[in-house]
Subunit: 223 residues, 2 copies
């Protein structure tokens, strides 16, 4: 993490100001970093011919940039360099089950990053960004697998989005109608937690016998 | 499911045509329905002042429409009626760990729906849409919790997005480099599955003693 040149409090802009449910909003950079580091799939929003397009894609973050990639031919990426994007990362942590339907909600952590992505052309940054992207999804994998060769690097467009303008929204805890009139209804209320769970690694059917999954994979997967 | 008026094959438009990785694309409406029904949080893309904005929000789907809601005052919803949106629903099913970093990827199911949402004003459709939205996240909850009153309904904006223009992308199975030159490297390759797991229900600390979670909640949660 090398974010000493970015302020620890995110700037409040017209886009990142939290207008509603302020208690859920945060401009704390540490919270932004935590939300980004906890995931590896984001939703990239671009405008194509005046219409929004929201594409799921993998990313990596290093406290200064969010890196995402794709084929040089990909449609949403072609639209990105020079054009504004919004990248959103969301973790759904549970259902908030209140006494009333109206107070139902979701516990979540979400980050929205705004900016104009930069096409990464410096070979060193490109390798570092791709490494970050690979490691964020699967720590230990970059040094284990075969790293990209020249041809593969040339076929990959890596984009860097600065983490300068971003906002975070987080909701945790119980429903909000526990001290209102609905509390007398005798309806159960609480949270049903949800979390992503890794399963046991499934070997490629084409894998020759005798090649075991490496510890960085088995340590993560389930029974 | 009442989708007899929508064609079983989704129309191929300039936006829904699959340009890359065609094997992953589908215009099969049954697959679209399945992807939508498997989730309850979508990423809503809107254009605000020419800039994309991607907001996570809960939704419900009934085979004809995708319903999403929010406060009447919400910024992204204000921009939505009359304006084009893209709603994307993504399920991440696992990491595809290939021999080479370049062939790494994600197993996923994703749907993108394009269109101009319609503000639901008919009281019957509004109730039905909110019911669908509640039931999709928590089956059984609409009839268990207190349903919205007039004031709450008036404070809720419900939007309906027709499922006419949409596309689906799905990737399943092993990495693609099992029969290439990298197969000889002796590197383990396969899939690390990922799935959302419900935990045990956590009662609101303000809940009076003696109110047990209902069966539709306990049946879903973990031990």
């Amino acid at each position: 993490m090398n974010n000493d040149q970015l302020p620890s409090v995110l700037p409040e802009t017209d886009r990142t100001r939290h207008r509603r449910l302020r208690e859920q909003g945060s401009l704390d950079r540490a919270q932004l970093d935590a939300v980004l580091e906890a995931g590896f799939v984001c939703h990239l929003g671009v405008v194509v011919d005046g219409v929004p397009m929201v594409v799921p894609t993998v990313y990596g973050s290093d406290g200064r940039h969010l890196y995402f990639h794709g084929s040089v031919a990909s449609r949403s990426l072609v639209a990105s360099p020079g054009a504004a994007v919004c990248v959103t990362v969301t973790h759904v942590d549970g259902l908030v089950l209140a006494r009333s339907v109206f107070e139902h909600g979701v516990n979540y952590r979400s980050a929205m990053v705004y900016g104009v992505p930069r096409l990464v052309t410096d070979p060193e940054e490109k390798l570092a960004g791709l490494r970050r992207l690979t490691e964020q999804a699967t720590p230990g994998q970059w040094d284990y697998a075969r790293q990209p060769n020249r041809k593969e690097l040339a076929a990959t467009a890596l984009l860097a989005l600065s983490l300068e303008e971003a906002s975070v929204k987080i909701r945790t805890g119980a429903p909000d109608d526990g001290d209102g009139p609905d509390a007398a209804l005798g309806i159960w209320a609480g949270v049903l937690p949800l979390k992503p769970t890794w399963g046991a690694p499934e070997a490629d059917p084409l894998l020759p016998a005798g090649i075991a999954p490496p510890p960085h994979i088995t340590a993560r997967g389930g029974a």
